[in-house]
């Protein structure tokens, strides 16, 4: 059984890998860090967030409602990872 911080790091790694591969990221923004501003810098838009949500639901076995899809939960890789662990905890 992994510790929770280890789980978080693993989640962050998977999210970062997904975004790097699936979203169109300008080279100067790579590699993504856990605090890179995903919305502000235009890496994620409304459409790529929809795909990301589908990925998160499948990968982490969580159910994301439309009300969950707000900037505070998606502004950085770190925020997404915290959102997921919050979802799993409930």
């Amino acid at each position: 059984m992994k510790g929770s911080s280890e789980n978080d790091r693993e989640a962050e790694r998977l999210i970062e890998e997904y975004i790097t591969k699936e979203a169109v990221v300008r080279p100067e923004l790579l590699p993504l860090g856990r605090d890179t501003k995903l919305i502000e810098s235009g890496i994620l838009d409304s459409l790529s967030i929809l795909k990301l949500v589908a990925f998160l639901e499948e990968k982490f076995g969580i159910k994301v409602s439309p009300e969950d899809v707000v900037s505070t939960n998606f502004e950085t890789v770190g925020a997404i990872s915290r959102f997921i662990s919050g979802k799993k905890g409930t």
């Binding site: 300008r26 080279p27 502000e40 409304s46 929809l50 439309p66 009300e67 899809v69 707000v70 900037s71």
Partner: protein
């Protein structure tokens, strides 16, 4: 002041509302608001500063900032200075923006601290910019100023620009002078600039205000980016009516649930955007939890609205009017259709409707006859005061699309050839069928497939490239690229997407990519798009 009784320049709309009700709210964005008096005087002071830095009537002035209340000030300031505003897509790569600046000779740019890095890139790529007015001030400004001045570029701070106490000098502009240039995707890999005169724009914004019955009580959302002609309705029609423009920054529209909350909180009464935004709102905006009783008109344009999503939206917001407006950027808006309240049941596609007042549209079939009956198809032509002046610096393209009226006229009469194929329904509404050429729509944006292919060909590893549209319910079309590489070259999907991202706006970057050893050709040696499209739908070659 002139033009108040009968506005003949766009800024007269603002000036009239400012003289009639200076204390009414003109615009809001986030926590910032400006009254009509404030907006008009601020725009006037910035206009005077623009003139003092050498801006003259007819000069092109760029706007390169995220959307905010300041962008509205900038637009009116540029118009008041007698110049032509050229809005830059704030997310477009600097190479493309430098092309635009060079193409129409932009020497003065309004920008902000957040975009100064982009300004550097645009200047480094050869844009002739000599003055940058920074519309926000920050601490780093002074050091930046010095480094710009060493390159011969003058930086004017916002404090300097907005504290001036002068009014702009009258420039003697008339309604047939150009007001703005909107750049759209061009088929050969370079964007083309659509020139819209004050008259072209006013003919549309005044019609649109009547059509929606705008009043001083309205709160009109400006959702579209400034380089998209949809933005002119909210910025100009609303100011003419004395209502309030709600400037929605690009990032505030990323999350449908937040956008729905914003519409409720700000009491938006009129909405105008591309259908895909409304689809996302109806699917993911939790609209049933919002009180949207104030929203009385929903207008959409730019692409086909899938009927099932429109139906869903109409059931969630049943009290609003729904209008479908149609018109390429070159014509502002030329037809309109009001969706009847109970339309959901029988409509299979939403008509683009009938010609707007003071505009004529007609369709001509391949054998040269005017389409008069349902079932006949033809290309749509537009005639009227909203039709553009032409493409900036491209007389050849202008002559190709702004053509002598094929219906004989005793006087010289130019009409715009849209390239859109249409037919008529039983009620004489036009129905949009498709395009004649390689232009497609994605997220409401016009995209020339050749523009994307030209960007891919500029990558040294790419030997051949073809982009095909894949129909998609949410965004209209997704883009799929087929690529073959030079012998021995290596390239991944992420690498070519990222490369395209440095050349093209994000909505033009292919969503998916297939690599092939060589691309199929037709007997005449052209890329065989039909085989590629069919191969894709049969599941071959996807990545």
């Amino acid at each position: 002041m002139s033009g108040l009784a009968r506005p003949f320049l766009i800024q007269h709309l603002l000036e009239r509302s400012a003289s009639e009700s200076p204390g009414s709210m003109a615009a809001k964005s986030g926590a910032l608001q400006l009254s009509y008096g404030e907006l008009d005087s601020l725009a006037g002071r910035v206009a005077a500063v623009l003139q003092s830095t050498g801006v003259r009537k007819g000069d092109r002035v760029g706007i390169y900032t995220p959307k905010s209340i300041s962008s509205l000030v900038c637009i009116y300031a540029i118009l008041k200075s007698g110049a032509v505003y050229v809005p830059f897509d704030p997310d477009a790569p600097s190479e493309r923006l430098a092309f635009i600046a060079k193409d129409c000779g932009i020497r003065t740019l309004l920008s902000c601290s957040l975009k100064m890095k982009g300004v550097d890139g645009i200047i480094a790529k050869g844009a002739p910019i000599k003055t940058v007015v920074q519309i926000d001030s920050d601490a780093e400004e002074l050091s930046a100023k010095a480094s710009y001045e060493s390159k011969g570029v003058r930086v004017v701070s916002w404090d300097e620009a907005s504290r001036g106490d002068h009014s702009p000098k009258d420039t003697g502009a008339i309604e047939t002078d150009t007001a703005y240039i909107l750049y759209t995707s061009g088929s050969t890999g370079v964007p083309k600039g659509v020139m819209i005169s004050h008259r072209n724009s006013l003919a549309f914004v005044e019609w649109a205000a009547d059509c929606v019955k705008l009043t001083g009580e309205d709160v009109v959302a400006c959702h579209a980016p400034l380089h998209f002609d949809i933005s002119t309705f909210s910025m100009f029609s609303t100011c003419g009516a004395g209502g309030k423009v709600l400037m929605i920054p690009e990032r505030a529209a990323t999350f449908p649930a937040e956008l729905a909350a914003l519409i409720e909180r700000e009491g938006v009464t009129v909405w105008y955007s591309v259908p895909s935004v409304l689809t996302l709102l109806s699917l993911y905006g939790s609209l049933q939890k919002r009180d949207l009783l104030k929203l009385r008109a929903v207008v959409f344009a730019g692409e086909v609205f899938p009927v099932k999503y429109l139906r869903q939206l109409m059931s969630l917001i049943p009290h609003a009017r729904y209008l479908n407006w149609y018109g390429p950027t070159e014509t502002n808006v030329c037809t309109s259709y009001e969706v009847p309240p109970a339309a959901g049941a029988f409509l299979t596609s939403i008509p683009i409707g009938k010609a707007c007042e003071n505009t004529e549209v007609f369709a001509i079939s391949d054998d040269g006859k005017i389409v008069t009956r349902p079932g006949e198809t033809g290309e749509l032509y537009v005639r009227g005061p909203t039709v553009m002046q032409g493409y900036w610096g491209d007389q050849e393209k202008t002559n190709r699309l702004l053509v002598p009226n094929p219906v004989k006229s005793p006087v010289e009469d130019k009409v715009y050839k849209t390239g859109d194929l249409v037919t008529l329904d039983a009620e004489s509404n036009y129905l949009y069928l498709g395009r004649r050429d390689g232009m497609i729509k994605t997220r409401g944006y016009r995209v020339e497939l050749g523009d994307i292919e030209a960007a891919m060909y500029s990558h040294p590893a790419v030997r051949e490239a073809v982009v095909i549209p894949l129909p998609d319910e949410l965004v209209g079309n997704l883009l799929h690229a087929f690529i073959s590489l030079h012998d021995g070259a290596k390239l991944s999907k992420e690498e070519i997407q990222s490369f395209c991202g440095t050349k093209l706006p994000k909505y033009m970057v292919p969503d998916s990519v297939s690599f092939m050893t060589s691309l199929p050709k037709t007997s005449s040696g052209k890329m065989d798009r039909v085989t590629l499209t069919q191969g894709f739908s049969q599941g071959k070659g996807a990545a």
